[in-house]
């Protein structure tokens, strides 16, 4: 409460009706004080006629005021009796200091509430009680209110029309958050009848003609226009409470804090009480806590114990064996949980224990970085169970009976392959640990690099040619998740997730000719070697389809293929042949056909062409269907080892 009783110093909610300056807790106290007060009351009344616009530093969350022209003033104070800073009240007083009736027009904006949550409170607490106060969108409206000369009204939500007398205060009580929304907008429109127009008013807008319309709402302070027409005056007061930087509003602080990591959030909590409170809200902490089952028991029990209190969940987690991954856990867990959501038939095992990881690191003589280690704490290897092929998390491809399905490798397997690599003479190769393997044939690997030039990176090696697959194991997983969840990589029948892009905005190309839709995409196949002149091997996929709404007389059959291959020097070579992969697919409405093939390039190149089709209904006429161009580019080799330098035949490198 911003005022104390003049007599007993308790919280005061009433004040002298004449001067509005002295506050009392009850009528009894007022009577007791009247003896002393009656002398000073008229003086105070004089003063009250000209309430000064409070200086911002005098607000301190207690008063918002508006000092007006000679005869009307509008002010409000905020009840801060609720020291927890949650709900307080806003009282709003209009004082008529003039010699005339004043009329407060309907649709007057009393308060603009900026905050969504606050607005709800206003609605829920006031909607039923209030007869005249309406809440519409962001505004709180009152109906018409007339104030007699010298009368004032303190508005309440059950405010009643015409029931305002000097000794009968009406309060407008609005739930209001103590530290404020920053802005409180008060605007009251007052119409002064022509006959008793104030004479002492300072005319600031004597030419204002809009003022004669009692319904027009104008901004700013206007007074004046004496004459025989009623005039309208609008008072607005907009105030932010004085805010020291240390005392920023919780909403502002929350916005700032929402950009901090958990650790910084923990630190700002130790600044002072206010910051501690503002930084402890669940919503700020929520982003790190996600509650999805299949994680190690230790994490699960932390999450069960602190279910809806994310901050204490974080603290508990810091004190657990996961504390070492504090900078990574959020990211890694999100990735892992979206992984399990995204891929069906993942066949993934629960993570490894710290002891297992320590033993692993000792054996392979390399330390994983914390991010990768954290990942291994949460998920283990992928294995096919019961003969069902599971989808390798890193996707794969198939063509001509070969291909790959890259899955996350377990520690034991990794040790097995690392042993072979560790005998290599080249530092770079020795710094690699296999972490992903082709699930079916086990002939393709991705390696985790501990080489100082590529710490933590994922590398693909073939015949000593090393290419960079991803910056880290986590980012490789994110890449998979992104491609799968965006529908770019699609699972095919046997569960394999093919890494051929299918989305046009992500690498696929498309052309439509006479209802035949051809979509092409291409992937680089590192493990295969092309010819000597064109060592880079690419696999491409062609999808043909015809829209079901097409007319059946568009039906046609593929007769021959005609490719134009452009190499890195711009040289075009043509390849023609009957059918595709030995087939002559028939295209009719709703039909789909796709095949995968391969080609070689030296570095970069592109392919385009057409399929010659024979119409099945129109006298067998021939026409060409465009095959859109697709480009191929081999990734840069970041490290090249002569095969002869590989001291021992290292199976994963040379197969």
């Amino acid at each position: 409460m911003s005022h104390t009783c003049t007599v007993c110093h308790k919280d005061a909610r009433k004040f002298c009706g004449k001067c509005k300056q002295e506050w009392y807790c009850s009528r009894d106290c007022q009577i007791a004080a009247w003896k002393n007060h009656k002398d000073e009351c008229p003086k105070l009344q004089e003063k009250a006629k000209r309430p000064e616009l409070p200086k911002s530093d005098s607000f301190k969350g207690k008063n918002i005021g508006y000092g007006s022209e000679d005869n009307v003033s509008v002010w409000a104070n905020i009840d801060d009796s609720n020291s927890t800073g949650d709900i307080t009240q806003l009282r709003f007083m209009i004082v008529n200091g003039s010699n005339a009736n004043i009329k407060i027009a309907s649709k007057t904006t009393l308060l603009t509430v900026k905050d969504q949550a606050l607005r709800k409170k206003v609605h829920s607490s006031d909607a039923n009680k209030s007869q005249f106060v309406q809440h519409k969108d962001q505004e709180v409206n009152i109906d018409q209110l007339t104030l007699a000369p010298k009368e004032h009204a303190v508005l309440v939500n059950h405010f009643q029309r015409g029931d305002v007398r000097p000794d009968q205060f009406q309060l407008l009580e609005l739930p209001f958050k103590m530290d404020g929304k920053g802005v409180i907008k008060l605007a009251v429109q007052v119409t002064v009848p022509a006959s008793v127009a104030p004479t002492s008013a300072t005319a600031t807008s004597s030419s204002d003609t809009g003022g004669s319309n009692p319904c027009s709402v104008t901004s700013g302070t206007k007074f004046g226009d004496r004459g025989n027409t009623p005039t309208t005056h609008v008072f607005t007061s907009q105030t932010v409470m004085d805010i020291q930087p240390s005392h920023l509003l919780p909403e502002l602080l929350e916005n700032i804090f929402s950009r901090l990591d958990c650790e910084s959030l923990g630190r700002v909590a130790a600044v002072n009480h206010h910051w501690r409170e503002a930084s402890g809200t669940n919503v700020l902490w929520k982003h790190w806590g996600i509650y999805i089952g299949d994680v190690p028991e230790e994490l699960q029990s932390i999450e069960r114990t602190h279910k809806d209190d994310y901050k204490s969940m974080y603290v508990a987690y810091l004190n657990s064996s996961f504390g070492r991954y504090k900078n990574h856990l959020v990211d890694v867990r999100k990735t892992v949980s979206s992984l399990t959501e995204t891929i069906q038939k993942l066949g993934i095992h629960c993570g490894f224990t710290p002891a297992q990881l320590d033993r692993y690191e000792e054996t392979v003589k390399l330390n994983l970085d914390d991010e990768t280690r954290c990942l291994y704490r949460l998920i283990g290897d992928q294995t096919s169970e019961d003969g069902i092929t599971c989808a390798g998390v890193f996707g794969g491809y198939e063509f001509y009976g070969t291909g790959c399905n890259m899955s996350l490798m377990g520690l034991r397997q990794s040790i097995k392959w690392t042993n072979r690599l560790s005998q290599a003479k080249i530092d770079f190769i020795r710094s690699l640990i296999p972490i992903a393997v082709d699930l079916d044939a086990r002939k393709k690997f991705f390696y985790y690099s501990k080489h100082p030039s590529y710490p933590g990176a994922i590398i693909d090696v073939r015949h000593g040619d090393c290419i960079l697959v991803a910056d880290s194991l986590l980012s490789l997983m994110k890449k998979s998740i992104y491609n799968i969840s965006s529908g770019n990589w699609l699972p095919i029948e046997n569960g394999l997730i093919t890494v051929f892009p299918t989305r046009l905005d992500m690498g696929a190309t498309e052309a439509v000719t006479r209802g035949v839709r051809i979509r092409c995409s291409v992937v680089y196949v590192h493990e295969e070697v092309g010819s000597e002149q064109s060592p880079n091997f690419f696999s491409y996929r062609v999808q043909m389809s015809m829209d079901p709404t097409e007319s059946p007389d568009r039906s046609c059959q593929l007769v021959s293929r005609h490719w134009s291959c452009i190499d890195c020097n711009g040289v075009v070579s043509h390849v023609e042949g009957p059918g595709v992969i030995g087939e002559y697919p028939i295209m009719k409405p709703g039909a789909r056909f796709e095949y995968t093939s391969c080609t070689f390039q030296n570095g970069r190149g592109s392919m385009e062409g057409f399929f010659r089709m024979k119409s099945l209904t129109r006298h067998g006429e021939m026409f060409d269907v465009e095959v859109p161009r697709f480009s191929m580019e081999a990734p840069q080799v970041i490290f090249r080892v002569k095969v002869s330098a590989l001291a021992v035949p290292v199976a994963p490198l040379t197969q």
Binding site: G220, L248, R259, V268, N272, R276, H287, N319
Partner: protein
């Protein structure tokens, strides 16, 4: 016809002209303008913004006047991933220079941006302050922001205990 320039009165009683375009970047001024359609424009009172700060705001608005309006992000279908920590990266070079000011001024601009409801500027100031907070100890923050320490020793001891030894790790 709406006039092309708007005048506002700041807390230190200065009247400042700004273009309608800039004025409308402030939702607060914009709604005031809408409220007063048809009325002759008088200076709009901005009792919470000093002329010094307002000039800063106008500077920012001038630089960003052609920015596309911020798009409300479509909520992701998956509720579990809905809440994402906001980042605090300031990418614009001009902005980086702009926030290179005294903290008191920054806070004033933040408050003004909040009051005037200039979204981009508000975001920028929040980001900057968040960056200021990152990696600092509570003591450093108190010193930087001129905050009084009102936590008792018991409070601090309890916090230290809860956060454990990991708190001070690198």
């Amino acid at each position: 016809m709406a006039s092309e320039s708007i005048s506002v009165t700041t807390s230190d009683d200065q009247t400042i002209q700004l273009s309608r375009k800039h004025a409308q970047m402030s939702q607060t001024i914009n709604s005031m303008l809408e409220d007063s359609v048809g009325a002759d424009q008088e200076a709009i009172p901005l009792p919470n913004v000093s002329s010094e700060v307002l000039k800063k705001v106008i500077d920012w608005c001038t630089h960003h006047e052609n920015d596309p309006a911020p798009v409300e992000k479509v909520k992701k279908l998956n509720k579990k991933r809905e809440y994402k920590a906001k980042n605090s990266t300031i990418s614009d070079e001009w902005d980086k220079n702009f926030v290179n000011a005294e903290l008191r001024v920054i806070v004033d601009i933040l408050l003004a941006a909040n009051y005037l409801d200039v979204k981009g500027l508000f975001e920028l100031m929040c980001k900057h302050i968040a960056n200021e907070l990152k990696g600092k100890t509570p003591d450093q923050i108190r010193e930087r922001f001129g905050i009084q320490d009102d936590l008792t020793e018991e409070d601090k001891a309890a916090m230290r205990k809860a956060w454990g030894a990991t708190k001070n790790d690198s």
